[in-house]
């Protein structure tokens, strides 16, 4: 699992690549902390190269959502494949994020 962070057009963008499973979630959680200082920036989670997401991965996204909300930032998820989107749908989380 690999993540890359960049600031683009005023947004905080994190690119995810590989499988976000329980094993990868501890390291990914650390790497996502940079997104927690998001005052004044919207967040884009680029999931075009993300192959799998587990409950641990969902929890990371939901924790980030909580932080971003409290700071007035919006989160959108881009490029997510249909299988992963199905995970969000079957757990009922689709409406919490903006998918682009």
């Amino acid at each position: 699992m690999k993540t890359t962070f960049e600031e683009k057009d005023g947004n905080y963008v994190m690119h995810f690549e590989g499988r976000l499973d329980t094993a990868a979630s501890v390291q990914t959680e650390q790497e996502m902390k940079v997104l927690h200082n998001c005052e004044g920036h919207d967040i884009i989670l680029d999931c075009a190269q993300l192959e799998y997401i587990s409950s641990s991965g969902l929890r990371l996204f939901l924790a980030l959502l909580k932080v971003a909300k409290s700071k007035g930032s919006k989160i959108s998820i881009s490029g997510m494949n249909d299988n992963l989107r199905q995970v969000f749908a079957m757990t009922g989380f689709t409406h919490l994020f903006e998918f682009v």
């Binding site: 587990s54 409950s55 969902l58 929890r59 939901l62 249909d82 989107r85 199905q86 995970v87 749908a89 079957m90 757990t91 009922g92 989380f93 689709t94 409406h95 919490l96 903006e98 998918f99």
Partner: protein, 354 residues
């Protein structure tokens, strides 16, 4: 340069010396009032405070400086303006002001009682003093009015109704008609708020007593209904599949889905839950049992209920997609989610009973 009278110059000098005290007074008085209003949960349109500017004070002294012996004979060197949404709230704020400050009744005006030909100036002006502390001998003014009165006052000022030029009677009449209309609007807004509060109380009572079919489906009633946690049982049943944690999530947006289903009252919603819970559980089970997903949104139950309902009604892919559109916002990818849900449902017992 305009020459100032010696009296004006003397008062202005005295005022300049008092500026630090006046600034302190402005802060203390406004903080006290704002805190007290907030504690009473009164929603305000505006809360503002200011110190009189030198320009404005000079103008006032030049015009009627003879009326003032000392600088503290001028009672609006510090001013606070409270603009409420409703007329009732002007009265409430006035009670608060009376409680937390001493009022100089001789100089305070309830223009609502005196001004018969205007509307914007229908405000309450109290001349106040702090009840204690070293600043308690300095007066300040608190103005209280509604948002409509405030707007009227600004327009009146902009048009110059109170200016030097005497208006022809037809314009005065037009002003009076508008003033009357706004006063009525102010009263009606207050009345509407009272009526709506009463309606909310009735809905609350009916919902709590379980008389669902007597309660029309609306934002208010649905919110009250959700407080009863009507989807919790189904959620817990679904969560048990993977011993999942339920993550809190808003559900109000499902009201749109229910309106699309043409549900008229909460009885329809309750019946919808009673008749579809088993099938909604089966649908969720068929999706989740083959995963190890152990975190679910609080909307999991209501979402599956909606999907099952629309499938049973023969809504097909278009109907299922429209549910996802209402939940997630309209987007093409909802068609894929709809297709998957429909595919999953094909294998379930309720589909074979149809």
């Amino acid at each position: 340069m305009i020459l100032q009278s010696p009296h004006t110059a003397e008062l202005l000098d005295a005022w300049r010396l008092q500026l630090p005290l006046l600034k302190q007074l402005e802060e203390q008085a406004s903080d006290l009032l704002q805190k007290a209003v907030r504690e009473q949960n009164i929603q305000l349109n505006t809360f503002e405070h200011r110190m009189k500017s030198e320009e404005s004070l000079t103008g006032k002294l030049e015009k009627k400086g003879y009326k003032y012996n000392t600088i503290y004979d001028i009672t609006d060197l510090v001013g606070i303006r409270v603009v409420t949404y409703y007329t009732d709230d002007v009265d409430k704020v006035a009670v608060i002001v009376k409680q937390i400050f001493d009022i100089d009744w001789k100089n305070s005006v309830d223009k609502r009682k005196h001004q018969l030909d205007s509307f914007g100036y229908l405000s309450l002006h109290y001349i106040c003093y702090l009840k204690e502390g070293p600043l308690r001998s300095i007066p300040f003014e608190v103005q209280m009015r509604t948002a409509l009165q405030h707007v009227w006052s600004a327009i009146e000022h902009d048009i110059g109704y109170k200016g030097a030029v005497k208006l022809p009677p037809e314009f005065v009449r037009q002003f009076s008609r508008l003033a009357g209309m706004l006063e009525m609007a102010d009263d009606e807004f207050s009345r509407l708020r009272t009526t709506m509060s009463e309606y909310r109380r009735q809905v609350q009572t009916l919902v709590k007593s379980g008389h669902f079919s007597e309660v029309s489906l609306s934002t208010d009633s649905f919110r009250q209904y959700l407080e009863l946690k009507p989807f919790d049982r189904l959620n817990q049943r679904i969560a048990a599949v993977n011993q999942a944690e339920i993550f809190p999530a808003p559900m109000m947006h499902f009201l749109t889905v229910f309106e699309n289903f043409r549900f008229k009252n909460l009885g329809d919603v309750q019946q919808f839950i009673d008749e579809n819970s088993d099938d909604a559980y089966q649908l969720a089970l068929s999706q989740l049992a083959v995963t190890d997903l152990d975190i679910l949104s609080e909307t999991i139950g209501i979402q599956n209920l909606c999907l099952v309902y629309v499938i049973k009604q023969g809504g097909g892919i278009f109907g299922v997609k429209s549910v996802f559109d209402a939940i997630n916002g309209e987007r093409d990818s909802n068609a894929i989610l709809a297709e998957n849900a429909l595919h999953q449902a094909q294998m379930l017992p309720f589909m074979h009973k149809l």
